[in-house]
Structure formats: structure tokens, C-alpha cells
């Protein structure tokens, strides 16, 4: 009786002392549940205020397809304010309804019901044992990452399908680069460069659940010593660069001689009788006239406007003709002989036949025949013909033999010359007259005629002054025009 009274008094006293801060517990809150491998799960709650009194919490659950209310089987394994459901108590594809009740001396408080299904709360543990291995290769190093699946996960039966993801960052940057690994527990990184510290983390996922936390960070430093092997190659490259630069400088300094060696000057066409130096010195009018006429290949006809008779005797070089009848260029080599008209020239004793016909050749370079004929066309324009006794040329052989028609031969055998002043002298002198129908011309530099009186039948005529030479250009097969040195003077 006395004990009871004492106890009640004590209780009243303590209650009176703590009456202001004592209350029933606050409502706890169920936070979350999690299943790491789809076989067990754990739930956590947050207790409310304890009301100043020791408060206990109890978790009760109901389950679909299971009658009754049950209490949490394990409050300890998962820590404070948690409840761990082991394999025997875990079912999937059924709803659990959980409630937590906090109770103390003054009352209880029950949380809101928390509905969950195991299939929705799957979140695995992080992968473990992440190892890094650096493989040094010539071009660039590569990083091999290996890890183990979380220890509690069953990857052998197909109950869960695991998927991995890893992320890498270099040194202290915040830029993580993420890679997906699928179901493999290894991965190789090739985009690493030496001289850096790489940090790698791995995480995993089960089927349709949530990603795990990132694993512990693993560091690896890729050494820089690879670059020490470079100096040799760098030295070599620098030396060769210096050599190249020096060679280039030498080349530039001696560019003229190099140019001469690489591209030797091509000898230009040498026109006999034309002295380049003479040309350069601005030679006489004759030289200029030479050029003018010599450049009139293919043959054109020119008309002497003066009162003198003007005509041409065109001879051909048979040799060149036959081989180049196809060329549209100069088909033959021509000597231009304009007849020398000279009055009272000592060189008149010659069976020189002049023909008043001027050959007219198209500028289109009609190829000549192979026979050596010259097609003379009668062209009487602007020609003041003096009636002189002419012989008609029947045939031109080679380049210096004229066959004349017999009936035209004058008995006198005279040949009249009319020297035309101011006309460039490019005649062939008659070398010999044989019989009464064969005239052999001088095959020489017409500019070098010197008159010699040697009897009635022929005269060698040569001009004293060097005049323009024959221009004989030979056509080679390639189509180029080369000069042939004129035969020596007689």
C-alpha cells in the first residue's frame, strides 16, 4: 500500500516536472524502400518527435494475397529506423502496404500507409573492385578498366539482367565522360593521353530499376616517360629541317646556275646569214629586208610595184618535198630568186632564162607534188613586161638545173639582165649552160655572186656584198623547222 502510494507520487512528480514537454509521439514518415537484387528489400522511416519520452516504432504490413497484418521480421540488419525483409518474406508482383507506428507512454502515432511493389524499388549496390590497368603502346596509351558485379547480385540465373555504365575524368576537371558497357565487366579506353591522372567510376542497373550509386573512385596516373623517347626522333627531325633550310638557301643563292643546269637553254634556229648580233646591233636595211622576206614562208608572191619587171622563179627542193608532202607547214624549201635585172651588168653572158610568170602559191600551203614541178601560174598583174627573149622553163630538176623548152631558145644565146636597183638581190646565178636547153644554176649563197666573165656561154655571177642568203629550212618529221647550213659557196 505504501509502495503503491510512493510510486504514484513519484510518477506524479516526474510528470509534473516534465509536463510541459511530454506528449505522444509525432507521426513517423516512411521514406523509401529498396531492393538491391530483387530478392530482399529494406524500408526506412523517419520518426516524428518523440514527445520527450522513449518512443518505440513498429512497422506493420499487409500484403496482397496474404491475409492478416504482420510485423517487420527484422529491425536490426539494416540499421536504425529500418525494416529488413529477407527472402522468405519477400514476394514480387504483389503490393505491400506498410505502416509505422510510434508509441510512447503517452500515446501512439501511425504513419500514412505506404504502398509498394518490389518490382518498382529495385536499385542495386555499386559494382566493386574496380581496377585500372595502363597499357603502353607506341601511338598512345590505353586504359583497361575491370570491375566485379555487386556481391549480392545473381547474374547467373537470369532473374536479373545487369547493365553497367562508367565515367572517366582527367585530372581535376569536372567533365565526366560516360560510356555504356552493356553486360561486360571490363572496358577499354583509348582516348587517354600520357601525363594525366584519370579517375574512373562504375555503376550498374538491374532490368528496369534505378541506377546504383557510383563506385569508389579509382585513380591512375599515366606516366610521362613515353615522351622521353621522343627527343631522339625530335632531334633527327630538327636536324633534317635545318639541312633542308640550308639546302634551300643555297639553291636560292645559286638560282641562276641551278636554273641553267636544270633547264639548259635550247639552241634557237640559226638562220644562215643572219647574224644575231647584227640583228641586235640594228643592222642594215638589207638585213631587215632579209628578215622580212625570209619570214614570208610559206611562199607568198610579191609584186614589185616599180616599173621593173618583177617576177619570181621559184625552185623547189625535191628531197624535202617528198618526205613532207603531208605537212601543212612549209612543204618545201624554197629559194627565192628574183631575177637580177641589171643593165650593163658584166654578168649578162649567161643563159639565164627568166620567166615572166610569177608563181603564185596559196598561203594555205598546198603541198607540192613529188615530181619537183613548180606549178607556175600566169600572173601578169602589175608587171611591166619588157619584151625580151625568154625561154620557157620546161622542167626544174633538183634545185639548180633548169630544162628549157627547145623552141624558145634564142640563137643569140643572150640573156638579158635587168638589174633592178633597190631590189634585194636573191638570185641564183647561172653556172653553166649545157646544150641549148639545159641551164645549171649556181647552188650557192646568192648574196655572194661575183661576176666573172668566162666565155660566151656562162658567167658566174656573184655579188660582192653578202646579201641575204638562201633560206633553206628543212622540215623534219616532227614538224619543227630546222635550218640546214647552206652549201659552201662555189
Amino acid at each position: 500500500m505504501r509502495r503503491d502510494l510512493r510510486g504514484a507520487l513519484l510518477l506524479l512528480l516526474t510528470a509534473a516536472v516534465q509536463s510541459s514537454s511530454m506528449s505522444a509521439p509525432g507521426k513517423p514518415v516512411l521514406l523509401s524502400c529498396r531492393s538491391p537484387e530483387k530478392e530482399t528489400f529494406t524500408c526506412w522511416w523517419e520518426p516524428g518527435s518523440d514527445g520527450g519520452l522513449p518512443t518505440t516504432h513498429h512497422l506493420y504490413y499487409e500484403r496482397e494475397r496474404l491475409e492478416g497484418t504482420y510485423e517487420c521480421p527484422d529491425y536490426l540488419s539494416a540499421g536504425r529506423n529500418s525494416c529488413f525483409f529477407d527472402k522468405n518474406h519477400t514476394s514480387i508482383w504483389v503490393d505491400y502496404y506498410l505502416t509505422v507506428t510510434a508509441s510512447n507512454a503517452l500515446g501512439n502515432a501511425t504513419s500514412d500507409p505506404f504502398k509498394m511493389d518490389v518490382m518498382e524499388i529495385v536499385k542495386p549496390d555499386a559494382p566493386g573492385n574496380v581496377t585500372l590497368r595502363v597499357e603502353e603502346r607506341e601511338a598512345s596509351p590505353c586504359l583497361h578498366v575491370r570491375w566485379m558485379p555487386p556481391s549480392n547480385t545473381d547474374t547467373k540465373s537470369g532473374w536479373v539482367t545487369i547493365k553497367y555504365e562508367l565515367r572517366v575524368k582527367k585530372d581535376n576537371s569536372n567533365n565526366w565522360k560516360e560510356y555504356t558497357s552493356g553486360t561486360q565487366t571490363h572496358f577499354s579506353l583509348y582516348s587517354v593521353s600520357p601525363g594525366g591522372v584519370y579517375t574512373v567510376q562504375v555503376r550498374c542497373l538491374l532490368d528496369h530499376g534505378s541506377w546504383s550509386e557510383w563506385s569508389n573512385t579509382t585513380f591512375v596516373k599515366i606516366s610521362n616517360y613515353l615522351q622521353n623517347e621522343r627527343p631522339l626522333s625530335m632531334l633527327i627531325s630538327i636536324l633534317s629541317a635545318i639541312l633542308f633550310i640550308m639546302a634551300g638557301l643555297i639553291l636560292i643563292a645559286k638560282r641562276k646556275s641551278v636554273k641553267q643546269w636544270v633547264l639548259p637553254p635550247v639552241p634557237g634556229p640559226k638562220i644562215r646569214g643572219i647574224n644575231s648580233q647584227l640583228l641586235q646591233s640594228g643592222g642594215s636595211d638589207d638585213v631587215g629586208n632579209v628578215l622580212i622576206i625570209k619570214q614570208s614562208f610559206p611562199p607568198i608572191y610579191f609584186v614589185w610595184q616599180d616599173q621593173m619587171e618583177d617576177y619570181l622563179i621559184v625552185t623547189e627542193n625535191e628531197d624535202w618535198l617528198s618526205s613532207n608532202s603531208q605537212k601543212s607547214l612549209i612543204p618545201a624549201c624554197f629559194h627565192f630568186n628574183s631575177e637580177i635585172h641589171s643593165k650593163e651588168s658584166p654578168c649578162h653572158q649567161n643563159d639565164w632564162e627568166k620567166d615572166e610568170e610569177i608563181s603564185q602559191v596559196d598561203n594555205n600551203n598546198k603541198p607540192f607534188t613529188n615530181t619537183g614541178y613548180v606549178d607556175f601560174q600566169r600572173h601578169v598583174e602589175n608587171v611591166d613586161v619588157k619584151h625580151v627573149d625568154y625561154s620557157r622553163v620546161k622542167e626544174v630538176k633538183r634545185d639548180n638545173i633548169l630544162f628549157l623548152e627547145k623552141e624558145k631558145v634564142q640563137s643569140s644565146g643572150y640573156i638579158h639582165f635587168q638589174r633592178q636597183e633597190g631590189i634585194p638581190e636573191d638570185y641564183s646565178g647561172v653556172k653553166e649552160v649545157e646544150s641549148d636547153h639545159l641551164v645549171v644554176l649556181q647552188k650557192q649563197n646568192a648574196a655572194d655572186l661575183s661576176c666573172k666573165d668566162e666565155g660566151n656561154h656562162y658567167t658566174e655571177c656573184a655579188l660582192h656584198k653578202p646579201r641575204k642568203p638562201h633560206v633553206c629550212t628543212e622540215l623534219s618529221d616532227s614538224g619543227y623547222v630546222d635550218t640546214i647550213p647552206a652549201p659552201p659557196l662555189m
Partner: protein, 212 residues
Amino acid sequence: MALKKTDGSKLLMAVVCLVAVCSSVPISDLLDRASQGSDKLHALSTIISQDLNSHFPPIGQEIMPRPSMCHTSSLQTPSDKQQTLQVSESDLLSLARSLLQAWSDPLLVLSASANTLHHPDQTSISNQIQELQLHSKSLGDGLDILSGKMGPAAQTISLLPFSGGNDIGQDRISQLINFNFLLSCFRRDSHKIDSFLKVLRCRATKAQPQMC
């Protein structure tokens, strides 16, 4: 002549056998394909569920009918790993096929009501439901082919009639609630199908552990 005939027929037989062997896809590949299809099916249903719940806090969870009222709840399925691993391959396939078959009609209902759903994401939900239907159909066809290769037990399908009819609610709220409920049932069943097929796949590919 007779010799030639026998030679010809032998050749023909050889060709037919070769064609038959070459054209048959191994079961492991078929299961792999089926697993990928079921994975996609469940992922799609989860997305639709999230879209649906994004604008409605789970207040409806309290008034929502209990999942035991899903029309497929009558089917006895394993409820944990141990039980699942004890089921035979043919039975697992039969269960998967039954579940899938049970949803062909309700998906039509869902698809129809998605057009008139009062929800901000109604268009995207409607499109996704259509996609869901297509996936479900193609997975069903694939499982039919598989069942042909796995014996008679795999061919049996349990009928699970859907009694909800075409009407999922008169007013907006009940429409949404029923839609949500049907979708949650589908999510659970698609997860079951996915798990069963993945267990089957792992069993069929003993030589390739990376498939599990």
C-alpha cells in the same frame, strides 16, 4: 534411268534438309529477340504511366481499386525468385503467352479511351498506347512461333477474359482513375512476362553466360 531418279530424289532431300536447317533460327536467338521485345513493352508502359501521373499527384491511389482486381490476377504465377526458377520452361512460356493474350482486348479499350482522355498529355499518351498495341501484337506472334518449338505444354493458354467492357468511366475523374488502374495492371503483367522470358533466355543459352 532408275539410278538417275534415286540420285535426283536424294539430292532433293539433301537440299530440303539443308534449307530446313539453315532457315531455322535457334531457340536461344528467338528467346533473345522475345526478351528484347518484352523489355521494350514494359519500358513503354512505364513511360505512359509516368506521363499520366505527372499531372496528377497520387491522390487517386487511395481511391483506386486494388490490384487484386486486375483481370489477370486469377492466373497463378510464381511470386519470387525461388518459385520462378522451379517452373519448367514450357510452363513459363505458357504463362507468358497467357498473360499477353489476356491483354489484347483491354489494350483496344485503352486505346479507344485514350482518344477521349482528359489529360494535358492526351496526344502523346494516345500515340504511345498505339505503339504499345503494336509491340504487344508482334511479341505475341513471336511467342507463338517459340511455343511451336518448345513442346505441347507451351501451347496451352489460360483464358483470362476481360470483363471491363468498353466503358472505363462516365466522368473525367473516374475515367482517369480507371485508365490509370488498367495501366498499372498492364505494367505488372508486362514485368512478369519480361522476367519469365529472361529466365528462359538464360536457361537456353547455357554456353553463353553473357546472355543472362
